[in-house]
Symmetry: C2
């Protein structure tokens, strides 16, 4: 399947400077590195919802959930600079920052989730979460969704079908379809029951293979699966099935967490469910590497008793200063409210657009997380994957940066920074309008 990435064959069309940089990357960074776009973007500056390239061209960032409170937010910069000037060290010495932040973070989580550990990346958080879940339940079997991505370590890669067929799956993992009401043709009112039945069926099949069930690892926004935020409450019956069968629910909040979905601070909270383990990453420090894993004390204990765990950079006061600033900014700038309001306005604009563009099969999402599914035919829902990639390139040429998701790569993932405002909608919707016209099949 084609993806949004630069390939050697695109090289001839580049200007000299860009071609020099892509060749240099190929030479010294190697084949694992991928660039977005057939005409890669050379960025030099960011501010709020915007980015600028080396030629001074301004872009609207509709894909970045790392610089979540906005690029180069002065408050994050100040917090990091101030803490760096005082001290940066690890958690084997006492420091108030990590404690104050842990209290603040836990106060935003359900009261059952009462302990938190810090790492540097979402991959590290999920790697640990899987081990914690296994130690607690005594089972090995983890259920993941069909196109999920949970990280780049060996263990998390083996739980990331999105990496493709060459990545061997964990022998004890099993896949469940995402709650894709659109493509499966299931009404919102029926979806929760359907998902719960799928969950039980998957657990039963796992057990029939002789694998003891440990739990479900899922991103409640189903980002890589194609962005399925669903109606509030959609996941509740499914998570009940996980618990009834003795498993734990690991909520991977790397994508939906930190106010993105607007209705609630965490993605799982929209569904009124209580996870046993919560992992977090990307938006947590607005780009300064920090991640976390929060859990019920009882769930953590089995692992902690058996295995020492220390993460050198995890919870260092500088990364925590960035993370604290992010929480403060979300509250003071009311970014959760803004995500809810602006996201709804955006989807309204996109729905209007859908009336003029047959290519748009579905507009869905919550807060600042929108999936725009492109299809060749609204009846058959045949995925317009190739066209979606063309749209991405057309958008890039109109200064709008985003990318695609889902098994057919036909879902535009519109996931701007939380600094994205109502006044940015016209640029995005206008560019989409033009791009969809430009790629008419």
């Amino acid at each position: 399947m084609d993806t949004n990435s630069f390939r050697g064959e695109d090289e001839a069309a580049l200007d000299d400077v860009t071609r020099g940089m892509t060749a240099q990357r190929e030479r010294i960074l190697g084949a694992s590195y991928r660039l977005f776009y057939r005409r890669p973007v050379h960025l030099v500056r960011g501010e709020g919802a915007y980015l600028w390239d080396a030629d001074g061209t301004k872009y609207l960032d509709v894909y970045n959930n790392v610089a979540s409170v906005g690029h180069a937010h002065p408050r994050v910069i100040e917090a990091v600079t101030r803490q760096m000037s005082a001290l940066n060290t690890h958690t084997r010495y006492l420091h108030t920052r990590v404690l104050d932040y842990a209290e603040d973070l836990l106060s935003l989580l359900p009261e059952q989730i009462d302990q938190v550990m810090f790492m540097c990346t979402g991959s590290e958080a999920n790697d640990l979460a899987i081990r914690v879940a296994r130690a607690y339940t005594g089972g090995q079997g983890i259920i993941i969704t069909s196109e999920s991505y949970h990280g780049n370590t060996e263990l998390t890669s083996a739980h990331s079908p999105a990496l493709g067929g060459n990545q061997l799956p964990d022998p004890a993992s099993r896949r469940i379809a995402p709650p894709d009401g659109y493509r499966q043709g299931i009404a919102a009112t029926e979806l929760a029951a359907w998902y719960a039945a799928e969950m039980q069926r998957t657990i039963d099949a796992m057990r029939a293979d002789g694998v003891a069930f440990a739990g479900l690892l899922a991103d409640s926004a189903f980002s890589s699966d194609g962005v399925f935020l669903g109606e509030p409450g959609m996941l509740r019956a499914g998570i009940d099935v996980v618990h009834t069968n003795g498993g734990v629910f690991i909520a991977d909040e790397v994508q939906p967490g930190f106010a993105r979905t607007g209705d609630t601070f965490w993605g799982f909270a929209r569904h009124g469910v209580i996870p046993d383990i919560v992992t977090m990453g990307k938006p947590m420090g607005n780009g300064i590497p920090i991640s976390g894993m929060a859990a019920r004390r009882e769930v953590l204990e089995a692992f902690s008793r058996q295995i020492p765990y220390f993460n050198t950079f995890g919870g260092n006061p500088v990364s925590v200063a960035a993370a604290q600033a992010v929480l403060d900014i979300i509250r003071e700038e009311k970014l959760q409210d803004r995500a809810r309001i602006v996201g709804a306005q955006l989807r309204e604009g996109l729905s209007d657009l859908a009336q003029r563009h047959e290519l748009i099969g579905d507009v869905r999402g919550a807060g600042q997380f929108t999936g725009l599914e492109l299809v060749l035919d609204r009846e058959t829902k045949k995925p317009a994957g190739k066209i979606a990639l063309q749209v991405i390139e057309e958008l890039r040429n109109r200064g709008v940066l985003t990318s695609v998701a889902g098994p057919h790569a036909n879902v535009l993932k519109l996931r701007p920074t939380l600094a994205f405002a109502s006044s940015d909608i016209d640029w995005l919707v206008g560019a989409l309008d033009e791009s969809l016209l430009a790629v008419q099949p």
Copy 2:
């Protein structure tokens, strides 16, 4: 075995503020978190080679290889602040910083090592390195040293015997003894041949078990094994054996890299060997999370062709700005020369001390990495593990922060920042003198 850590039983002796913080950690950070010292240190400020606690007490940091060029180095702070103010994003867009840094870093490595990838932690670098080695060789078997520590992910933990018996080893890993000339009673001139023979024996035993050899993953300073820098060239014959048998050598430079050993910029280079993969971490960004894995293009290719790898924060311009500042500082402040000269002076002072303290069994090291092995009897070399822990506490009470290493936890690991100067030696040696007197058995 006892380790340098705070335990509940020590709580009664603490002042109210410290006890409040330890209780809060226990409550919200959980049982995996460990504090150094029976009387934990509450740090608030750092500068160069020094740290200060909340009461204003000054400490000499003899254990920190993260803030390697010195605590709160103004140049690192400036580089980070400046880059944060401009832009922080991932490597799917073009940015000159990551390319400039990669070129600089590769110029410090043997010319055969021609590609580099960036992650956030040493654990991530070693996790990837093991997978790269396996993909390249087609073997699964990795040889590690008996007490090595290579990371906290599932895969690296399974290659970290230092984590203790509850951590299941990787089924394909095998252990080799470190080149401990002191305890094994092998002369420096014989040690290289002994180590090479051990290597062949271990590879043969692995093959006899039906495991195909993939390579050796080793820290050339053997830090967790008890600090065995050895004579330059000591590892050469052993690494030759690895290569002759079709394996790769993964040099874990998290501890010895970035000028620490004084003679050379990398630990492996002291031995005149050329690794196939080099992993790096802790000192790379002076505390800002960044790590790397460099390798021969040919070695990387097998993995890169099969599996996509992307690390969201890896190689972000802010972390790279810190890493670039670290390289610049090491060169401009001539910290490698300083490590060589000051380290030799320190070991001279410690050798003098050994004439007055029977407890000191061995003084060894290179550059700013010194192992001071304590024994109850110089003839039998019976390890003075319990006493070493008392010495650590006595040193802490005299403002000198360090810890222990090795299977018997009887080796003081003296690994100061590279800002440690000749003028700091008196404090360290004097405090050691007093501490050794205080703990006389």
